[in-house]
Subunit: 248 residues, 2 copies
DNA sequence: ATCGTCCAAATCATCTGATGAATTATATTG
DNA sequence: CAATATAATTCATCAGATGATTTGGACGAT
């Protein structure tokens, strides 16, 4: 199975049936057992670590991690975006379709606690928007979406959805926004959650699709941004007429 | 952007704006320029190579590859399957939804040559099935599906779809089958392609969904298989009554 | 001139050994 | 008993030497 990867290290894990939490022998021992130098072993170790397959610390050694699709997707995605920003839209499109496709199943698995949590996120978000100056409820936005899909038993779907938000943040999209847009988005969120709680999943789905179109429209409209490497702008909301005339 | 990855090597590529085909300096030079040892550099190089971001050969050196989502997905997926076969169904579900979601767009981009190619695949497939003994048209199966999505300008979607087939083969699912099932599948394929050519994308979509259900049913029915590492069975079709009574 | 063969140079590939840093376990001391 | 100091384990990084591969060029034969 893993012959493809040519990784003696991963082959060792698989063939020994090591489970998450299990420890591997020290590198020196592994080197002797697998008949390859520590240097080569460390090359493979770096791959396994980058992919989130093992956790490695001095003294503690090398530990097998639970499977997670996210690191592989994120690594590839962030590199892709660094090379070509336009690819964000391509990934975004994939993510939207995946959200749509798994929405019904995901919602059907939500617990009462999940719903209560969703409601609290909405409250917090509106609270942030109503501050002076308003703050962007980005953490709540990410959390809301991921919470809806939390109970899905599909690591691949979850990995893709999580990677989207990491890319979103890496692109700096969580930083700039305008009040009207944010308010509208969160009104949709409120509607989605209310429909979910009311058991009207179809209505929730309808609102999800509409709210996604809102985002798509906005992303097409946004000017190509040019941020150099060290440039970390502080979060900021561009105020507009609506916010200024109704500040309270 | 790539600060996350902590890879000086990839940071070098990005910051120097290297494009696919461009060469990196030799490791010794890079080591001096980036102020890290060759050993550490090689650890990062192994990651970049595993992810398909660079191609590296003696004398030729290190070359930047065009972006490809497949290696990252495949690597993570194959490791996941080696740990837990049941995850194949999870990925399969994702792949099916992705195929559905992008079907209309993909079909709308197909050229006349693509359609002709699809028709030839179907001919070849039925020819293989009609041989004595029949052969499994697995290559045609893979090619048919991927061809439909070939014109999509979304590397992430394509990476996921391609990874599915690599996993399919790694799982050995391309090896065993029965004649009736294969014949039914290819009858669906024929219907899909004919509908596409006739311009009836909705009908094609309907058939695609139905044909996918066929596969799902079969995968649920299949007994958990136990194949050890070196076990490579030759392709084989289990003949059944239909095939035996109508061998010609 | 064109082709093929052989040789040399460039570059990656791998190993070994030495030293440093981080973390955890253990011992010590007030 | 708690806080601190010490030690042991393991990873982290580096440097250097040697081998393997691939490529490009020299050179001769046809």
């Amino acid at each position: 199975m893993l012959r493809n990867t040519e990784s003696d290290l991963l082959a060792y894990i698989v063939e020994h049936g090591l489970q998450p939490g299990d420890r591997l022998p020290p590198l020196e021992e592994l080197s002797a057992e697998l008949q390859i130098s520590i240097g080569k072993l460390r090359e493979q170790l770096e791959v396994a670590r980058t992919m989130g397959m093992v956790e490695v610390k001095p003294r503690t050694g090398i530990r097998v991690s639970p499977f997670n699709f996210l690191p592989a997707v994120r690594f590839s995605l962030l590199y892709a975006l660094a090379q070509d920003r336009k690819l964000f839209d391509a990934f975004s499109e994939l993510r939207n379709h995946v959200e749509f496709a798994f929405f019904h199943e995901a919602v059907s698995l939500l617990t009462d606690e999940d719903c209560a949590y969703l409601k609290s996120l909405i409250e917090n978000a509106f609270a942030k928007l109503d501050e002076h100056p308003p703050r962007i409820p980005h953490a709540e936005h990410r959390e809301l979406h991921l919470t809806i899909y939390r109970r899905l038993d599909n690591p691949f779907v979850k990995g893709l959805l999580e990677a989207y938000w990491d890319a979103y943040e890496a692109e700096g999209l969580s930083v700039f926004s305008d009040y009207d847009y944010l308010h509208e988005v969160w009104t949709y969120h409120e509607g989605i959650v209310n429909a979910v709680i009311a058991g009207d999943v179809d209505e929730a789905y309808r609102l999800l699709v509409q709210h996604t179109k809102l985002l798509q429209k906005r992303q097409k409209a946004r000017a190509p941004r040019n941020r150099t490497n060290g440039d970390r702008a502080a979060p900021e909301i561009k105020l507009n007429a609506h916010q200024r005339t109704a500040p309270k």
